[in-house]
Symmetry: C2
Subunit: 350 residues, 2 copies
C-alpha cells in the first residue's frame, strides 16, 4: 500500500486492491478478534444470544436497472450476507444519502421496492437516517447503507446449515453454485453502456436456497454469496481462509447465453463478474446429489451445478505441491490458475 | 410532500423538511412499531436480551475540522445516539464510501482517529464495507455510515437513567443542557467560509455525562443529544412526543462568545445550530441541583445550565390553552414561539 497514493476505483472492486486497502488501513486500525475473521457477517455473543451482523453500502448506478433497483439490492445484499453466516435475518437499519436533485417520486418508488423485499425477507426496518449532499449529477442520486442483524436459534447449533464458515472447506468437498454467473454485472454494464439485450439482474434473496438445503438435511461446510469480484475472488478467499486449494472444472459453471455473448464482445470473464442472487457452497461429495436436487427444486436454483472440488492443502490432482490456490481444469486436461480479481472491475455495480 | 418535486438540501437539515420526507416517504413504506417510535435508537428484544440499535451516515465537509474529523464524528454521533436510549454501546459497524482521488494517508489518519475514539467509547468495530465512487470533487471525499449496537443489562431496568424516552417529559420538569450551544456548527461553517477564529467543534462522547448522572442517582425522564436542527428542533420533537409544552428562559443556554459573535455577524440563531457533544435532559425539579452538580463535575459538562421547564399539556404559565409547543420567555417577560428548524440549515454538517 502506497500511503502517498490516492484512492482509485480499483480499491472498491472487491478484488486484490480492495483486500490490500482492507489490510493496510482498516484492519490495522480496527483490529479485533471478530473483525479479524473477515467474514461477510460478524458473529457476536450478547448474553446468551448469538447474533450475526453485516453492513453494506450500495452505490449502484443506474438506480433502477433490468431486474431490480437500488432499494431491492440494498435489502438482498445485506440479508444474503447475514444468511451466509447461518443466522436468520431479523432486523435492518437504513441510512440514506440523497444527492440534491433526486426525484421524490423516484425515491418513493425505490422505498416501496425496498419495503416489499424486506417483507419477503422477514426483516423489520427498525431505524434509519437521511443525509442530503450535492453530488456529481445535477439530477440527483442515491446511496443506501443497510446493516442487517440475524439471530441464531439455540437449536440452530444442531441444525445442518448452522455453522458454515469461510474456513470450513474440507479436502474432497464438492462445490456447488446455485445458478448462472454474471447476470447482475452484465445487466448493469448493459444499462450503463446503452446496450439493449434481454439480460436481467439476478438480484434476489437467497433464503429459498438456504431453506431447501436445511430441509434436505444437507450439512454445508462453507458458503458465500458470489458478489463483487465474482466467483474467482470468492473462491480464492475461501481457499485462503481454509488453507486448501480448489479445482474447478471448465464449462461446468452455468452462464446464460446473452451474458456469454456480451462477455465475448467485451472481453470479460464471467468468473470475475458480480452477482446479487447467487451463492457457492461446499459439501461432502456423498451429499452432492441431494444438495443439487434440493437447490434445483427452488425457483432461483433451477440451474444449480457442481463446478469443482476442494483439494488437500498441498497437492494438486497431479501431486504437485502448491499454496492455497484456485485452478481451472480445462477441457483438454490442463490446469490454469484462477486468481482473485486484479484491477477495478466495474465500479458502482452494487 | 410534493411527489413531483426534487430532493433539496433542506431535506437533510434535520428540521421541518426532513420530518416531512420522513413521514411522507420513509414512514409510509417502512412502518412498524419499532420505527414508529422515531427515537434516535431503536430498542428491540431478541430472546431475553434488550438491544438499542442506531444508524447514521456522516457526510461532513471538510473531513478534518477544528476540534475533530469525520472519523471521530462517525463514532461520537452514533455512540451518543445509543447512549441516549440508556443502553451501553458495545459494537459498531463501519461502511465507508470513498470518492476516488482521496489521499490514502488522509484516510489512514481518519481511521486512526476513528479507532481511537471507538476505544474510548468501549465499542468494537465488528464489520465494515468499502465502496468507491467518482464524486464531485476530483481530490476525493469520504462518507462513513456507522451502526451502533448497545446492550441493556438486566439490572439496568432498576437503574436511574435506564428508561429515558422522548415521550418522558413530565409537567414541571426542569430542563438541563450539558454545555454551550452551536460550537460544532460554527466550527464547520467557519472552516468552510475560511473564517479564522478560535471556535472548536464540541464533537465528543457523552459517556461521562451519562455516567455522572447515573452515579448521582438522578432519575432522567427524557434525554436527547442536540445535533442537526439544534436545541429548538430537538425540544419541539420531545414536546410533541410527550404531548407537553416547554418554556425556555432567555439567556440561560450557554453560548461561547466567539460563537455568539459569529452568529451576530451572519444572522444565525444558536438555538438552531448543530452540536456533536451536547445533550438536553429533563428531570424532576427537586433533582435539578444534584443533576447540575453531577454534570458540571465532568470535563465536558462544566458549563451545564438549567434552561427552562416543562409545562402541562394545555397551559402556558399565563394559563392560555395551547398545543404542544416550545416557547422562550424573554427577559422583559414576554413569550416567543420557538419552532422546529424550517429550511436547510447548514448542509454537510455531520
Amino acid at each position: 500500500m502506497d500511503f502517498d497514493g490516492i484512492i482509485t476505483l480499483a480499491h472498491g472492486s472487491g478484488g486484490f486492491d480492495s483486500a490490500d486497502l482492507m489490510q493496510a488501513v482498516f484492519a490495522k486500525h480496527f483490529r479485533n478478534d471478530i473483525l479479524a475473521r473477515l467474514e461477510d457477517a460478524a458473529v457476536v455473543n450478547i448474553g446468551a444470544q448469538r447474533l450475526a451482523i453485516s453492513t453494506d453500502s450500495f452505490v449502484v448506478e443506474p438506480l433502477i436497472f433490468p431486474g431490480g433497483d437500488i432499494g431491492r439490492l440494498a435489502v438482498c445484499g445485506t440479508v444474503n450476507d447475514v444468511l451466509m453466516s447461518g443466522a436468520a435475518p431479523k432486523y435492518l437499519t437504513c441510512g440514506f444519502i440523497l444527492e440534491a436533485g433526486l426525484s421524490i417520486s423516484l425515491l418513493d418508488s425505490i422505498c416501496a421496492s425496498l419495503a416489499e423485499v424486506a417483507m419477503d425477507a422477514g426483516v423489520a426496518i427498525i431505524c434509519g437516517d437521511t443525509k442530503v449532499i450535492e453530488g456529481k449529477n445535477p439530477s440527483g442520486g442515491l446511496m443506501i447503507n443497510t446493516t442487517g442483524i440475524g439471530v441464531f436459534d439455540a437449536e440452530d447449533d444442531a441444525a445442518s446449515v448452522a455453522s458454515p464458515s469461510p474456513a470450513g472447506l474440507h479436502a474432497g468437498d464438492s462445490l456447488i453454485v446455485s445458478g448462472a454467473l454474471g447476470d447482475h454485472h452484465a445487466a448493469i454494464l448493459s444499462a450503463r453502456m446503452g446496450i439493449e439485450n434481454e439480460i436481467q439482474s439476478d438480484c434476489t434473496l437467497l433464503t429459498p436456497v438456504i431453506e431447501a438445503l436445511a430441509a434436505a438435511g444437507v450439512h454445508v461446510h462453507a458458503m458465500r454469496d458470489v458478489t463483487r469480484g465474482g466467483l474467482a475472488t470468492v473462491l480464492n478467499e475461501l481457499a485462503a481462509a481454509s488453507g486448501v486449494s480448489i479445482e474447478l472444472t471448465e464449462g461446468t459453471a452455468p452462464i446464460h447465453p446473452p451474458v456469454k455473448a456480451l462477455c465475448g464482445i467485451l472481453g470479460l470473464d464471467p468468473l470475475y463478474m458480480g452477482n446479487e442472487g447467487k451463492m457457492v457452497f461446499s459439501i461432502a461429495p456423498e451429499d452432492e446429489s441431494a444438495a443439487l436436487a434440493a437447490v434445483r427444486a427452488t425457483e432461483i436454483g433451477r440451474e444449480a451445478a457442481a463446478i469443482g472440488r476442494v483439494l488437500s492443502r498441498n497437492r494438486r490432482s497431479d501431486e504437485t505441491l502448491i499454496e492455497p490456490q484456485v485452478f481451472l481444469r480445462t477441457a483438454i486436461g490442463g490446469t490454469r490458475r484462477i486468481d482473485a480479481l486484479y484491477g477495478e472491475g466495474l465500479p458502482r455495480i452494487c
